[in-house]
Symmetry: C2
Subunit: 120 residues, 2 copies
Amino acid sequence: MSFDPESLVYDDRGLIPCIAQQEGTGEVLMMAWMNAESVAKTLETRRVTYWSRSRKSFWIKGETSGHTQELVDLRLDCDRDCLLAVVRQTGAACHTNRRSCFYTSVSSGNEIELMKPMAD
Amino acid sequence: MSFDPESLVYDDRGLIPCIAQQEGTGEVLMMAWMNAESVAKTLETRRVTYWSRSRKSFWIKGETSGHTQELVDLRLDCDRDCLLAVVRQTGAACHTNRRSCFYTSVSSGNEIELMKPMAD
């Protein structure tokens, strides 16, 4: 069955969430948003390209920081309203320079920092 | 720093996306939504409890199917607008009886089924 980005289910802003996961380790790196055109660009270029809600523009991950995400596999869920991008992440995925955005754990009612920023 | 579910960033429906990931294997199982009260319930009961947008009610994962998610760790991202639940999944996470909802891959412009429904 051929894939059409328009066949995904987008929210009322025309966006779909995309989870980025590191190939091999399975680490969940981040979650950001795509529109139909950024889904198409990601598949064409194999460079993960989100839609920046704040800047209202395409966000080619790592274009300025060098912390790129090379697409290994793009998957969709059963409801076609969420994407999973399996990627090869260069450096930190998080803007805080941590490998993953999910560096805070809730433990016994407290927030615990699980990882430090990476060395430059 | 003590954790308050109200300190998370919810969308205009009062919801935050939550990614469920299998402990150990790192497999991404599904993504669903929580409100502040379901975050609190999840932490209290250690049973992952989403908010069903269609039924407009709490959705204790596996309550009818038996395919429960036992909470191992709840994490939040840098923007506090996405959650990652590390879980022990019993059986299938997906309503199609597949282990993960992300069973469809986009490959060379086609949709490929990566996994079959689990045996009952």
